[in-house]
Structure formats: C-alpha cells, structure tokens
Symmetry: C2
C-alpha cells in the first residue's frame, strides 16, 4: 500500500466523525481543477490529500456515496413525494435522470445545457448525492412485494414531538459537499431534474466543521459543544459491514450492499444546556467536555469503565448518562454508523435558536440498531431533557450502481 | 516587502470577492493551533497563507474587522433592540462586554468559564465580529445630537417588498468565519453576553464559497450563477478610503474611520431566472455568465464598452443591463464596497427556494453611494424582475477600537 493510500485510509477510517485534513496541497494554480479521487471504502483510487475543491468521490461502487465518506461542511436533506398519477414508470425515468445528474455533479461537471452555473469554477468538493426510498414509495409504485420488512414504521417514542409534514416521504436525497455553493447547486439540479414527477415534501440544511478548521483531524463537535462520534464503528472493526450494509442472500436481493438510513431532526434546547454548569453537563453525557474522554479516565478513545464507582459509592459514569445508555454493550451490541449534520434555522420569536442535529444513522437493520438504542434512550437518558425529536424518517438506500446502472434499477426493473 | 506580505496583499486586495487560497500549509500536527494574522487593510502583520483554522484577524485597528477581509464561508447577521428601560448606561456596559468577547473570539480563545465550547479545537478561522448602531439607537440612548445625518432613513424604492420585522434595529452584529461552528459559537456568545440589555430583532444566516473550493482565488458567484463582485473597488484604487470610510474632520468625530453598512435581504426568484435561456440571462446582466467578462469583450476585468453598438445598431450591453445601470460612471462615480453572503432558508410550500443574497455594502455616505445606485436600479434594471428586496437596514459602524477602547466608546463616552 502506498503512502497516499495509507494516509487516505487513515483519513477515511480513523476520522469518521472528523472533517479535518492533516495537510492540504493545492494543485494547478490556474485553469481546470485537477480531481483527486476519494475512495468509498471499497477501495481508494487516488491521493486523498488535495484541495478542498479537487476531492472527488466516485458515484459507482458497492455502496452509494455519502455513507462512508468523512463528514462534509455542508449538507442538504430533501424528501419528495411522487406527484398524483405518477407511479413505477415515472419513478424509473426519475431515477435514471437523477443518477445521470448525480454522476456528473459528483465529477464536478455541469448537468446539461441549462445548468445554472452556481458551482462553476469549483471542483467536486467531495460532493456526494445519495438516494433512498421510503415505505410509501412501494405503495405508490405497486412494488409492495419488494418492500423490505426493515421499512416497518419506527415505533413511537414517548419523547417524540414529530411534525408529520417534516417527516417520512416517498423518496429521499442526501447531499453533502465541502462547499456551500456546490451543495446548493446539487440541490437545485436534483429539483430541476425531478421535473413534474415529484413534489418536495420537506427540505433541511445542515453543516459541519470546515476542512482545515482544526490543526489535525478530530472527531466532530455538535452545537452543545460535545465531542460527538467517538463511539462510531470504523470500517476496520470486525463486523462493520454486517452491521452497516445489507448482506447478499437476504429477503430483498435488490437491497444487497444497501443500508437503512434513519433521519431525525433533533432540536437542542441550547439555552437550557448552556445554563447547566460544566460538571452537570459532563455527568449528563458521561464524558469530559474538553476532550471527550470518559469520566472514568483516559483519552477520547479509552473504553468507558461502566462499573467503576466513585468515592461516594456511586458509578462514576451515572446510571442515566448518555454514554452509558447508548453504549453498544448496553444494547445487545446494537451498532449503527452515525453521520449527522448540525442545523441552525435562525432564532425564534422567544429568542431561542432553532438549532440542533440532523441525525442520520446507517445500519443493515434498524430494528436491531436505532430502534433498541432509541428505546433505551427514550426511557432513561439524562440528555432527553435537553433535546426534542421534531421529525423522523426511515429510508431504504440501495447499494451503489454498477457500470451502466442507475440507482435503484435492481428494485425497479427486476 | 517580503514574499509573504506580497502574497498577503494580493490575497487581500486583489480578491475582495473571492474566497480562495493559492496555497494552504498546515501548521502543527497536534496540540494548539498556531495563528497566522491577516491584516485589516491598514497593514499586514503576518503570513496570510495558513490553514483555514489558523488565520486570525486583528480586533483592533483603524477600522473594524469584517469590512476589508475576504468573504468568509459562513456568516450570521443579527439585529437587536434595546430592552424596555435600557438606555445609554446599559449600552455602555453592553459594548464593553461585546468588545471583550469579540476580541477573545477573534483570537480563537474561549469567552469566560461558561463558554459553550462549540468552537473548541478550531482556530480563529478568520472570524470577524463587527458592530453597528441603527438610527433608533440614538433615540433610545439620548444621543440624538450625535446621530449622523447619514442615518436618515433610506428612501422607499418602488420594488421594495420590505418586512419591517426583519428590517432596521437599534444594534447590529455581523459575524463571518471560514468555519460554521466557529461562526455559530460567536453568535451564541454575542447573544449570551447581551444579557438582558437587548432582545433579538432579526437574525439571518449566510454563506460563501469555502476556502480552496476553486483552484485559484476567483471573484465569487451568487446563487444565480453570476460572477458577482467584479466591479468592487480595491483598497489600492485612488479614493478608496474616501469612498468607504468616514474621514477625520466630519460632523460626527466619533465616526472617524467608520463606515455605513446598508443591509438588504434580496430574494432571488431562482426558478424564473433558471428558466431564462443563457443569452437572455447575459443580456440582463450585460456580462458573460461563464467568466463575467462584459458582453463587449475581453476578460472579467476589462472595462465594459457602454457605447459599443452591435450589427443591429443597438448597444451590445443593453440599455437596461444590470452592469450598465450599476456602473459608477452612470451614477456620478458612486462607489461602495459590496461584501455579501448568499442565503438559503429552505424551500417554501410552493416548491421555490427561499434563497438569494444578504447584500451588505459599505460606504462613507449612503446618500452618495447605495441610494443613487439603487434609485437607478429600481427604475431601469432588467434584473429587477428576478429579485425582491425583502428586508432593509442601515447602520453606522464606528471605526476600530484603539488599545484599551471598546467599540463605540467615542460615541458613548465623549
């Protein structure tokens, strides 16, 4: 393995929650932007360390892009419903158009003669465009027989405050890029290419740290100031693929290589949180705020010692600490890959920010990952007093397209 | 002048509208982030080419930061009204607190023991925090005698569709940074330090291209895909200071070194715009979309030949083209420094984006800069059919604080 690949793997595997770069080298000082290619986890095909602009993520592969890539600085989530009268035929044409557009966009190329030009001059900027199907899509297209069991509606949780207008949807597109204009251009293009086949159901904007904002790649922080993503599984972990991606030989062969995305708009009650003294914040989370290390000591990556008692005879990591409740070993090994964006949609009439986390998590089976963990958090997490789940959706995200295929072809044309 | 200063000046002066970097060199691979210092136009004090994170803008100087610096990737604009009962005394204490906080924030330091930690690990990321006073501030603080003539309300324009709730305000803070978490942290800190002295009146979020998204620094594009900012004056232009900053010896000595900011939320009717064929878009603007060159030929920086006629005997740059109407020579030399952010606040119920430009322009006297230009655009600009001014504000932005001073001290304690 060459040095470049080594560095690339480290960037990819070691910093799932980080959006930093250990070094940036700028390419051509003028003219066209040269494109580095960032692997999708199934194989890295070029130097990973390049300008913000020139990093390109492949559209084709075993998995769709936007699952294994490092967090991007800017994101758009958008759900569509099929228009009245549109069915399987229109869905086929739509997924063909969207796939063609996504491949061009991710290569940093304009999409057709009516391209708006917003992203012109910029490189691909690590753009990913990811497509998913909601439960209702299968009703609308007459494909109920191919609907995965895993798309059963998520159970209601006692702390849910869900807005149905901002939840669910026939189709879902996740857009991420390290440049806001590139991301917006992709969103506009996806909407334009949708034509009359669909209507926007909801749309949300998010962000993460910029590349190079920290001196070295680090796990992300959320808007509570917490290091968030430490416990994320790494592609090198045993069983990673099994936890995150649908294996071959399942009940729905078209989902092989795919994954299920749970999307939750989690409002953070930041004024309440920020008013809490640091020691109390750390007790709620079970980790130090400064570096994310467990309260039982060590560094960010040290395993929490859930059995350790303090001088007062109580657990050092409290019984209701978020880190304890959400730990895989407390949830039968439930493992999911979290890949969120933060959001901030302004300040409400009461002066509090409409801000929080666009939580997106990936798993082979939500009933063995998100659902049991959220059930436990819902009952006993000290963090619950400071957050509010305001929207929810679940999508089947098929595997990546092979050469000549469009996304979802194995579902729609099997 | 050293090479570093040369490059720094070029970055600063030659690319007011661009957010690119010709080269990025990362500092320490671990530990504290080293801070490069970016000049404020009055003198460059360190190497300008550094990581996204480590670039620091000085808080003190002849002018406040956030006027001459390159466009940042992320911005927050927020206006406050003094709380009932609050007056000059509270304003003094507020500006002291805000100045202390802004200086720490811009240095990448936490603000007090209750700092939320959102920006922890990141460097200053070119953060700027800029403060201004609205017309109503002088009534509330008993300082009407020191209210500049330049704060007379802007005239109504026929195409205005202004929302008073998102317009005006006693106080204004402009926040810009190359990292979204750093910018959000600054916004939260400004709100926290405001305490009970003020209430948020309105708040808007914006963005520009990320550093390094293009292979070389380039003038920005807006969400219409147009190169936007070509005609901006450069600090090296004759008369730049006179046009942008208030000179000594004026009617209000406290405004020496200051500037007036006009803020307009300009919604773009992007679906209408994008439906327009390229040739028509170019006729509306008077410039080529691909590279921003005038329709009369040359490159982006070539002066438009406003008298040139085409084979049909009509002006090559149409009579109602935006580039013609807004040209300084068509407006008695009116010159202002535009330094906007794009915005995108989601997709409305009709499926169209709530997106456009948070237009911010800087001038020594709005009645000789923004007002005459906007009057002319309002009457005859072909672009007017594709935009809608939805909010408006005008603020007096005092000069930068000297050592030991807080922002606005010369107004509040003279």
């Amino acid at each position: 393995m060459s040095d470049n690949l080594e560095i690339s793997r480290r960037r990819l595997l070691g910093t799932m929650g980080a959006a930093g770069a250990t070094g940036l080298a700028v390419g051509a000082a003028g003219g066209a932007v040269g494109h580095a290619v960032l692997g999708d986890g199934s194989g890295t095909t070029g130097p990973a360390l390049a300008t913000v602009g020139s990093t390109r993520v492949p559209f084709r592969g075993a998995h769709q892009a936007g699952i294994l890539q490092p967090l991007q600085a800017r994101g758009h989530l958008v759900a569509f419903d099929l228009a009245p009268g549109a069915g399987r035929k229109e869905a086929v044409a739509l997924m063909r158009r969207w796939s063609t557009a996504a491949e061009l966009l991710m290569a940093g190329e304009p999409v057709g003669p009516s391209d708006g030009g917003i992203a012109r001059d910029a490189g691909p900027c690590s753009l990913t465009v990811t497509f998913g199907f909601g439960r209702s899509f299968f009703d609308r297209t007459g494909l109920v027989a191919r609907r995965p069991q895993e798309l059963e509606p998520l159970p209601a949780f006692s702390s849910d405050r869900l807005d149905p207008k901002r939840s669910d949807g026939d189709l879902w597109v996740q857009i991420g890029a390290d440049d806001a204009l590139v991301a917006f251009h992709a969103l506009r293009t996806v909407q334009r290419e949708a034509g009359a086949a669909v209507r926007v159901r909801w749309q949300m904007n998010g962000f993460n740290r910029s590349l190079g904002a920290t001196a070295r790649p680090m796990t992300a922080r959320n808007l509570m100031g917490q290091v968030d993503g430490t416990g994320n599984p790494k592609p090198t972990d045993p069983g990673f693929d099994r936890h995150v991606f649908v294996a071959a030989g399942g009940a729905q062969p078209w989902m092989t290589g795919g994954s299920y995305a749970v999307v939750r708009r989690i409002r953070m009650l930041l004024d309440d949180w920020d008013a809490l003294p640091l020691k109390h914040q750390e007790a709620v989370i079970g980790r130090r705020k400064s570096d994310g290390a467990p309260l039982t000591g060590g560094t960010e990556t040290t395993e929490p010692d859930l059995d350790k008692l303090g001088p007062d005879g109580k657990p050092v990591i409290p019984a209701d600490a978020h880190a304890r409740i959400s730990a895989p070993e407390q949830n039968g090994g439930a493992t999911m890959l979290r890949r969120p964006f933060s959001f901030h949609d302004g300040i409400g009439p009461d002066g509090t920010p409409d801000a929080g986390l666009l939580f997106v998590c990936w798993q082979a089976d939500p009933t063995r990952a998100f659902v049991p963990v959220q059930r436990k958090l819902d009952r006993g997490d000290a963090l619950s007093a400071f957050i509010r789940h305001e929207a929810s959706a679940l999508f089947a995200v098929p595997g990546g397209p092979a050469d000549g295929e469009y996304v979802g072809q194995r579902l729609l044309e099997a």
